[in-house]
Structures are given as C-alpha cells and as structure tokens.
C-alpha cells in the first residue's frame, strides 16, 4: 500500500555543443600590459551574469603574470572594442576566453623580448605570476611594475591582440550531415523527488549533477551555472507555463507565471568533470546551457519511480500529476475487474 507521500529517483543524460552551431565562430580581443604592472583587456564580451568578466580577468592574470584584480576590462561597445559577439551558445568562455589568452600571450611576448634583452637571458627562461616576473634558473626577478617601466623606456608598449576561431561546418540540406561543433560536453543528473499523492505536488529534494566542462577556470562559478540551470530546469519541469488564449497572454505577471522560489530549491550536488578540449589554448569548454538540459527528464523519471505515472507533457503540475494518478488507479481497477 502506497503512503500519501512517496519518494523516488530518476536520472537523465545529455550532451551539448560549444559555440555557434554549424558555422564558423570567432572572437577577438586586445591586451595591454599597463603601467603599474596592471593589465588592460578590451573585447566585446557580454557579461550577462554568468561571471565571464571575472573569468577573463583570471585568464588574463594567469597569462600576463599578475593578479585578477589588477586587470581592467573594457567591454562591450561596438565603437571601442573588437568583435567578440554574443552571449549565447555557451560560447563566451570558449571563444572569448581563448581570444583573451592569445592576446595576452602576444603582449607578454613583447614584454619578455625586451626584458630578456635587458637581462641578457634567453627569452624562453622568463616566467611571471601574481605580479612578479623572473628568469628561470637565475636570481633575476622584479615586479611586473618595474618590468613594464623598463619595457616602455626601451620604447616598446607591450600590446597584443588575439583572434580565436571555432571551425563548425554547415549541415547538408538533405541528410543533415556536417560537423556543427569542434567541442562537445556531456552531463548526467539524478533527481530525488517526493510526490504528494493527495495534492499531486512534487517536491525535488536532491539533484546530483555531473557535467564535463573541459576545464573549470572558476569552479565556484561553474557550480553557480549548474545550480541556476538546474533551478530553471525544475521550473520548466513543474510549474512554469506561459499560457495564451487566442493569442492573448493569460500569465502576464509573476502571480500567474509561477517561478521557483527559495522554498522550491533542492540540495544541488555538483560534480565537475574535466575532459580538456584539445583544440584550444585553455582546454575549457562551457556549462551555461548544458546545465539545464537533463533536469526536467530526470525529474519526470523520478516521478515515475515514485508513483508509476509517466508525465509526457510539461509542466508536471499538481493537477496533471493527480489526473495521471487517477487514470492509473482507474486502469488498475479495470484490470482487477477483468
């Protein structure tokens, strides 16, 4: 005999392509190693909240050899920054992250050349990190601030540029064959739910989300993307529903269009898998969109595990779950009668 509240678990797998689909994608960036040992990056990046500016500062800091907080990013202005295009297609870490890395390497090469000449060492021996620059195997070391000063006194402004390309190809119009992306990610999520068989309400109590991101440049940021994606997936699975009647919106505010709130949130357990991309300098791929792909089917599969009803129409609102339970009970009675 089934109790009123029943739990179950379900899982779903997923895959996703990184950057623009079935076409060439490209992004550009400029870099300058600036006075005071700071860095200036200019690129048409679009921070929509995912944390791309911080990520680019980390990439630039690592490549130049300074601290992320010493990076200034001049971002999205079509009259001031090179094209890096849109925030979408899970492309910004991959496309713009790599173009910034290339731009910084270009700038560093110019700085290193001057410093190697100044120190009379091989240019390959020069390394830098966290605001200091040195020649490996020697006691030659100085701050990045001094290094920039020396470089400029020798008449060179250490500037660089980078352009990164992803080689997707178009699909054949007849059989759809083609290579739409050069990098793919994979993910799997497990959901644990509790179904109230009297009200039809489904609560998601736990989500385990394992996603390949290539390389996690900021692991906490990756978690944030997965948590946000899971909750959007949960919203679509259970409550969100934009309704129209003869073209007129019936859900024109948040009183009618129901969104997940703090009380709907499962514990979200993230596992980051790193399978580095071999075709790009950073090895990172992406996570923004793939995070929410498996959530809804994992929840539907968990509902089935709990109460044996297959929800094939989203969202699985309490009304729909109740109707499915009633239909199942009626079918069971019919079977018993036969």
């Amino acid at each position: 005999m089934m109790g009123r509240k029943v739990r179950g678990r379900g899982m779903a797998a997923s895959w996703y392509g990184i950057a623009r689909t079935a076409t060439i994608d490209r992004a550009g960036a400029w870099a300058e190693i600036d006075d005071g040992g700071t860095g200036k990056i200019v690129t048409g990046v679009t921070e929509i909240g995912e944390g791309i500016l911080t990520l680019l500062a980390q990439v630039a800091a690592e490549e130049i050899g300074i601290k992320p907080e010493d990076i200034t990013i001049g971002d999205n202005d079509t009259a001031r920054s090179p094209e890096a295009a849109h925030a979408g297609a899970t492309r910004q870490t991959y496309m713009i992250g790599n173009s910034v890395a290339l731009a910084c390497r270009d700038a560093r090469a110019k700085l290193d050349r001057e410093l190697a000449d100044h120190w009379e060492v091989e240019v390959d021996s020069i390394e830098a990190f966290d605001g200091e620059i040195w020649s490996k195997g020697s006691n030659l070391k100085m701050s990045m601030e001094e290094a920039v000063d020396i470089c400029k006194k020798r008449g060179v402004v250490p500037v660089g540029s980078g352009s990164f390309t992803a080689h997707g190809t178009g699909l054949d119009p007849v059989d759809g064959s083609g290579s739409p992306w050069q990098a793919y990610v994979f993910g799997t999520q497990v959901a644990e739910v509790e179904v109230d068989t009297v009200t039809g309400e489904v609560q998601v109590l736990g989500i385990w989300a394992a996603h390949d991101v290539g390389r996690a440049i900021n692991p906490r940021g990756v978690e944030g993307q997965i948590e946000g994606g899971v909750v959007q997936g949960l919203g679509q699975a259970l409550m969100e529903d934009y309704q129209l009647e003869n073209g007129h919106t019936k859900t024109h505010g948040f009183a009618k269009y129901i969104l997940p709130t703090s009380l709907d949130i499962p514990e979200i357990n993230t596992v980051i898998i790193e399978d580095p991309d071999p075709k790009s300098p950073l090895g990172a791929k992406g996570i923004g969109e793939p995070a929410l792909v498996p959530t809804a089917p994992a929840i539907m599969n968990a509902i089935y595990d709990a109460v044996g009803v297959r929800m094939t129409s989203l969202p699985a609102t309490p009304e729909k779950v109740l109707a499915a339970l009633e239909a199942k009970a009626a079918a069971g009675q019919l079977e018993a009668a036969e």
């Binding site: 739990r7 797998a13 759809g176 064959s177 007129h248 859900t251 505010g253 514990e267 923004g288």
Partner: protein, 627 residues
C-alpha cells in the same frame, strides 16, 4: 492632484521634498532621491527587487504609496554601506560565495537577508529560506545565496571567524581558482547602474502602443492628437523608418513597429516620446488605429495545414525552417528491432523572467553617431541590423552594452532598440524606454513549445537500432532565432547515443502567438527531454537499469554522431559514473521502485518543505517557533 510636502528620514538623512501623490515609495527613492539600488522587477510586489526597510520592517517599495511613508525612517541598500564604509558581513558573504550573478535581484535579496538576520540572528536554514521566499532570483538557483546568509549569520554571531569572508588567495594558479567575482561589490551594494537606472541631461521618455489583435490589417494610424499633447516630442510609426525595415537573428522578418499588419498581441505599433512617462502614456492612449481583424492561427500543427491563415507572405506554408537529418536505413533499423516503442511528448512555452525588464537609452552623439545603450546580448549583430534599418554607415551606429540583468537568450532580439534610435534621431534628445513586467512578458520571445513524436527500435540486449524523431515547434509570429533553435534541437535530439539509423525532422512554424526565440539550450532541452524520457520507457520494457541502458548505447571516443561527425574524446561514460557514484544509486530495472529503494533521503537531499503557519510564541523563549 497637487503636490504635497513630504518629510522622511532616508538612510539617516532628513528629507523634505514636494512630491506628487501618485508616486510609489520606489519611484520617490529612485527618481527623486537618485537611489537606484532598489529595482523595479515586477511592480506588483511579487519579486522583491524593490525591497527596502520602512521603520525597520522589510517592505516592497513598489506597493507603498509614498504618502504612506510620511514621517517614516526609510533605509535602502545604499544605507547599509554609506559612502566609504566597507561592505556589511551579509554583502561580503554574497561576494565570497558568488551569490550574485546578473545582480538585478541582489540589492533586494541583500535587504531580505539582512532583515532575516536582524529579525532572528540565530535563524536556521529553513527559516532563512522562508524569509527569502518573497524575493525571486532567476540566475543563481538560490544555493549560493543560502550559503552566503548562513556564513554571514555565523560571522555576525562570532561562531565563524571573519576570515571566512576573505578571498582564497593565489595558490599556484589563477586557473581553477575560486577568484571572487570582480563585479560583486558593485552588485551587492546596489551601486551598479542598469539601463533603467541611467539618466542623461535633457532625457525624454518613451511609451509604446501595442497591438490588441493577434492578426489584423492596419487601415490607418492617426497620431495628430497625440502629437499635439503638450510635452510630447514625437510620435513614431513604421513610416519613420528610413532604411530596410527588418530584424531577426536568422531571417529579418520583423519590422521595428508593425508595418501595415499586426501579427501578435503586444506587437509594437507606434511609440511616443515625451517629457515624462505619464505624458507619453497619455499620448499613447490618444493614438487612433483603425484595425481590420483577419483570421489567425494559434496552433503550429493547424498552421501547417493547407488553407491555414498565412503569417508571412514569403512563407506560404508557414514553415520558418525544417531541419532534416538522415543516417543509415531507417526501415532496416526498425526491421532489426525486437521492440519498437512510440510516444508523444509536449513541452510548454516558457518565459525567460530575467528580473531586469527591457530598458535602454538612445542618443545621437556630437559626431552624428546614433548610439544605443541597452542590455543587449548581441550588440555586434544589432549594430549590423540597425545600420540597415536607419540607413547609416556602420560606423555611424554604436551599441553600448549596459549591465545585463539576466538574459538567458531573451535579450538577443533587437525588439525595442530600433524604436529608441528612431526617436533619438527624430528629437535630437536622449530617449529612455523602460518596459513594465507585463510589457516584457507579452511582447518578447518565449521558449518554443514543442510536440515530439518519438519512435525507437531496440534489440532485446538494449541496443538501439533506429530512431524516428519528429518535432513541431510553435515559432510564433516572427522568426527571431527559430531557425537556429530548430537546427540545434535536431542535431542534439537523439542524445549522446550510438544510433545507426536515424530519421529526424524538426519544424519551426509561424503562428499568431507571441514569438518564440532564443532560450538557454536553444531547443535542445525540449528534444532531449523526449529522448531521456523515452530511454526510461524502453529500459522498463527491457528490464534494464536506466544507467545500464545508457551505457549500452552511449557514445564513446571516436563515436559517429547523428550528423555523421566523428568525435574525439567523449566524456559520457565519466559523467554517468560520476553521477551514479555521487548519489549512491541503488541499481535496478526501471519501474515503480520508490517503495523499495535503499538510496533515498540522506546526504545530498533536503527535508521536504512542510510549510504551514509559523507561530511565534511569546513568553519564556522569544525565538521559539512552531511550524
């Protein structure tokens, strides 16, 4: 109504102003006091972005007439950190954990969290969640916010060292390092200005007239009365567009404002620019449009039938895009199957619900460059399109991205920037437009609703022999991103599995519904929802564990995809293993196993919410609460 004298204390300062009685407290603090940390997310008390303290109590300032705050002590997010003061422990904890993403909900969220800990410094996580329940966040999934509030609580109480709020440090590399978000201080303090928070000297305000019909011919538009209203600077319609009028991510089928015909309820028809929003709104109501309603179609499958109303002349079959994918021999594949399973799936339209409604400012600069500042997700493409629409060389059009208060694909469309540019060109003044929540919901793109017909053939050992996948999506009235969404949905439809024979057909269809467009996953969520549901249905019939059926079929290194691309390294096996292990999965064939599972509850889950009335007992223990 005449102004009245208003006195209150705001962030410790006595304020005396004349104010219009219709103002809400939110308008007063934002527009009169220039304190723009409190945001308008919905205007109906449903999202919490406008939260402030009034006499110490957390209040949604969009619901409070300013007259009600007469004599009150008001504290806004700016009051938490007077200029030069360091961030509060709550704000520092938000910074530390990465609790702010787009940041638009964050000032309100910080206020709600501050309120929670002021009301009950020892609040447990369940109470914290409850006290944040009136504040919506669309980016973070709330998890890092909960973590931040718990850290702040413990630092304030002394249970946790203040070091818990400090950055992690350089380590050996800044790659793989939890560097705190560089933009978080500006977001947790409310200092960051989004487009709707920006003002320019001499700025005018825009309001938009929208279609009440799903499909109608426009016989005439009479703007004369609106134009003669004092304070109105200009009225624009499709007639004001000097160049090639059309935008869209793939096909440029949508005019800046309706041209001769409206195709969905909420479509822009005309726009008024005036000295203030109220005058602009009044003028909008004076525009007279003569419509002739004509037959409309609201269902994608009906729109595909012969004789259905045609949405766009260039697509007489109402097909925006059909993406076919073929691999192998589908008939042979089903012939080889021991089991064939068919099922239909439906997914709904979904609203992006970014907390920042659309907003922007346009102006023509000293070098005659038409400049638009807006939270656009794709200024590169917007510049290309606008240059053609206003017939200017590309370097005379400039797009500047303002901070984006959430996008999720919904801000890829140039849905209002064209109107702003036209009005700035016509008036010579900066023009600002800020959408209401309702306007945002009814007029901007949604996730494509989809109907998927699935047929899968499998051998008794679980191997898939063939899949036939047909998906029909409602693209709504304009093309926007539909073509690309169909392509991605199709390519990824059948999941990360080796399937020798596939027949995939994905259709994006015009109807007279709200347009569908880009939304996080670009169609892949809908198509893979069907695949992953179907895998479980098939696993049950074959007596397989859900992980097992996926492992039997999963792509591995060197796999050939449904579009016949040869992959390199494939991490599918690793992510399956990782998820299975992390959740301590209790293996067994798919079925109604909830009653007998051994892996339920425990680590990694939360207790179910059993929220009822929370009664605060007074007496011996002030903080004892009974749920």
């Amino acid at each position: 109504m005449s102004d009245f004298e208003l006195e209150m204390v705001v962030n410790g300062k006595s304020i005396r102003r004349r104010a219009k009685p219709h103002l809400r407290l939110l308008d007063f603090i934002r527009d009169e006091l220039n304190l723009t940390g409190a945001k308008e997310g919905c205007g109906a008390g449903e999202c919490g972005t406008c939260s402030v303290f009034v006499d110490g109590k957390l209040v949604k300032s969009c619901l409070m007439p300013v007259a009600k705050a007469q004599g009150a002590k008001v504290e806004t997010i700016e009051g938490l950190t007077p200029h030069g003061n360091e961030l509060t422990p709550v704000q520092k904890a938000f910074h530390k954990t990465g609790a702010s993403q787009c940041g638009y909900c964050i000032p309100g969220m910080v206020m709600a969290a501050t309120s929670a800990l002021r009301e009950n410094p020892g609040a447990g996580i369940e109470e914290i969640k409850e006290r944040l329940g009136g504040n919506i966040c669309r980016c973070t999934g709330y998890t890092k916010i909960f973590e931040a509030v718990e850290i702040a609580r413990d630092v304030i109480s002394g249970k946790l060292s203040i070091a818990a709020l400090e950055p992690d440090g350089a380590g050996k590399s800044y790659i793989g390092n939890n560097v705190r978000r560089l933009d978080a201080p500006s977001k947790v303090s409310g200092r960051l200005r989004y487009a709707g928070d920006m003002v320019m000297p001499g700025m005018l305000h825009m309001q938009v007239l929208r279609s009440p019909h799903a499909h109608a011919l426009i016989r005439s538009i009479d703007t004369s009365e609106a134009e003669s209203l004092p304070g109105v600077a200009c009225v624009i319609t499709a007639d004001d567009v000097p160049g090639e009028d059309g935008f869209g991510v793939f096909v440029h089928d949508q005019p800046i404002m309706a041209r001769g015909r409206v195709r969905y309820v909420g479509e822009a028809v005309a726009a008024v620019t005036a000295d203030d929003v109220i005058t602009a709104a009044r003028a909008v109501s004076l525009i007279k449009v003569e419509y002739e309603p004509v037959a409309a179609v609201f269902d994608a499958e009906e729109a595909m039938q012969n004789g259905a109303p045609v949405v766009h002349d260039y697509a007489p079959d109402n097909v925006v895009k059909h993406i076919p994918i073929r691999k192998g021999d589908i008939e042979q594949g089903f012939a080889e199957a021991d089991l064939v399973v068919e099922q239909t799936y439906d997914t709904q339209a979904v609203e992006h619900a970014y907390l920042e409604p659309e907003a922007g400012i346009a102006y023509v600069d000293h070098d005659d460059v038409v400049t638009v500042v807006s939270p656009s997700q794709n200024i590169t493409h917007h510049r290309h399109m606008l240059a053609k629409i206003i017939d200017k060389p590309i370097n005379k059009v400039r797009f500047i991205m303002s901070p984006v208060g959430g996008g999720f694909g919904g801000k890829e469309d140039m849905i209002y920037q064209g109107m702003l540019a036209l009005a700035a060109m016509k008036t010579g003044a900066p023009v600002r437009l800020v959408y209401t929540r309702e306007e945002s919901i009814i007029s901007t793109a949604k996730r494509h609703p989809a109907r998927i017909t699935y047929k899968m053939g499998l051998r008794n050992d679980g191997r898939i022999t063939a899949v036939s996948f047909r998906m029909i999506c409602d693209g709504g009235a304009y093309g926007l991103s539909t073509e690309g969404v169909m392509r991605k949905a199709a390519i990824l439809s059948c999941g990360p599995y080796n399937i020798p024979n596939v027949e995939i057909d994905v259709y994006g269809i015009y109807t007279h519904n709200t347009p569908s467009g880009a939304f996080r996953t670009f169609g892949a969520m809908q198509s893979q929802f069907a695949t992953e549901s179907h895998m479980d249905i098939c696993a049950e019939k074959l007596g397989l564990d859900p992980f097992e059926i996926r492992r039997i079929n999963m792509m591995q290194d060197g796999a050939v995809t449904h579009t016949q691309q040869v992959l390199g390294s494939v991490s599918m096996g690793r992510v399956l293993d990782a998820a299975e292990k992390a959740c301590r999965w209790d293996s067994g064939p798919v079925g109604m196993r909830g009653q007998e599972r051994n892996d339920l509850g425990g680590e990694g889950t939360r207790p179910p919410c059993t929220l009822g009335a929370r009664i605060r007992k007074t007496g011996d223990d002030d903080h004892q609460e009974v749920a």
